[in-house]
């Protein structure tokens, strides 16, 4: 516990990262199941029951089943990792997450050799989530990763922020964090993880494939059709906050560029 990423990864992390305040991180959220306003999740997500919680792990795994939250956490090394968080809407934060590597969970389930992708699903609870009454997206929220992305040491499952239990608006009790991809890939409040051999359908890609690709790696050279991705504004700078340049793979190029070495990233968005 308490290990910062600087200790385990290269120079990209040597750069000083100034974490956002707990207040910023927990008051400015996109979690459309609770409403589309940035303040809606903080206002309404307390309605979500997070105890008990379990994740169904199925598909191409040796040990499928419903894993309770306690079973998942048993024996996991929870550590703090300070990651950049870059939203597709061109704002960013720096978040000190607490969690463990997704690989550790997948290994426990026993990934079979023909698995190529991992699909994730967020809880869908109309009684607790006022936002799902509107067809903003095709609920439940779905996301997916290629298996090598999922097994990458940077990819984590977060259960806390600043050493505290993760608040509901940030995806309690357990969420994905993939720091080199746009924030919407880091799916919240996960109830299902499925190993498959085909590329899973993902919510934003289903809603608008031209704007939200399956990969959605942070890339300053490929604009979103409606805005530039070359720059971003870090949350918390007030009314006169300056824009800062967006880094390739959100600053994790050294660690992850190899995953995409044969791909044209202007096509595989």
């Amino acid at each position: 516990a308490g290990v910062t990423v600087g200790a385990i990864a290269g120079p990209a992390f040597a750069q000083e990262l100034e974490p956002n305040s707990y207040e910023d991180i927990t008051s400015y959220n996109n979690y459309y199941e609770f409403g589309t306003d940035k303040g809606d999740p903080a206002r309404y997500a307390s309605a979500l029951t997070t105890k008990p919680w379990s994740i169904k792990i199925d598909g191409l795994v040796d040990r499928p089943g419903d894993y309770s939250f306690d079973q998942i956490m048993e024996g996991m090394t929870v550590e703090q990792r300070i990651y950049r968080f870059r939203c597709v809407e061109a704002w960013s934060m720096v978040v000190p997450w607490d969690g463990f590597e997704l690989k550790d969970l997948l290994d426990r389930a026993g990934v079979q050799s023909d698995a190529k992708y991992v699909a994730f699903e967020t809880a869908y609870r109309p009684d607790e989530m006022r936002g799902v009454a509107y067809p903003v997206l095709d609920w439940p929220y779905r996301e997916g990763l290629r298996l090598d992305e999922a097994m990458h040491p940077l990819t984590m499952m977060a259960t806390g922020i600043y050493g505290k239990t993760i608040p509901n608006q940030n995806g309690a009790p357990i969420r994905l964090v993939v720091p080199w991809k746009y924030g919407f890939k880091s799916i919240k409040s996960i109830v299902r993880i499925t190993l498959t051999d085909t590329q899973p359908k993902t919510s934003w890609n289903m809603a608008n494939a031209r704007e939200y690709g399956f990969y959605s790696n942070v890339n300053p050279e490929v604009d979103h059709p409606r805005w530039t991705q070359a720059t971003e504004r870090k949350i918390g700078g007030g009314l006169f906050a300056k824009r800062q340049p967006t880094l390739m793979f959100n600053g994790y190029e050294k660690e992850v560029a190899d995953l995409y070495r044969d791909m044209d990233l202007s096509k595989f968005i």
Partner: protein, 199 residues
Amino acid sequence: MIDVLNKGVRRIHAWPLYIVGVIPAVWLIYSGATGGLGAEPIKALEHRLGLIGLQLLIAGLAITPLRKWAGLNLIKFRRAIGLLTFFYILLHLLVWLVLDVQILSQIWADIIKRPYITIGMIGFILMIPLAVTSNNYSIRKLGAKWRRLHQLTYVAAVLGAIHFVMLSKGFQLEPFAYLIAILTLLATRIRWNRKRVVA
């Protein structure tokens, strides 16, 4: 009832509306500067100003149908509402230019490359001659042409609503509600019975 209302309206002046109308803008800017608009005040301010602009457009477009269908005469407030609309859209644009995009070359690229910004920009440009001619002198000087010119409001309103629909993520109802409100108010102006007009 309507007579009483009209009588009351006749007794009040239109000028206080300018003062009342500016208060929300001052309040929003103050809130943004002092943390009242949350962790990201720039986008919040930009959106709130734009939304008030659209609401004022709807208020302005409602005046004629209210007189026609309800007999309520609020026409004396129309100039103030129109000028306030321009004021809010101008502030919305300035916040986008100065606080949000910041980079001059980027601004021009955005206007040309991003259809929702192009549309919003055209809507704003169409409002400039309307704001400039919102005075008694112009009305006298332009005569019948003034009315024709000010029908540009209809185009600007539709463009503003489309701009809102185009910029939202996912399928959201609110922008469509504004578009429908504006289209409905415009529909009340169509003279369905063409023949009688010709005759």
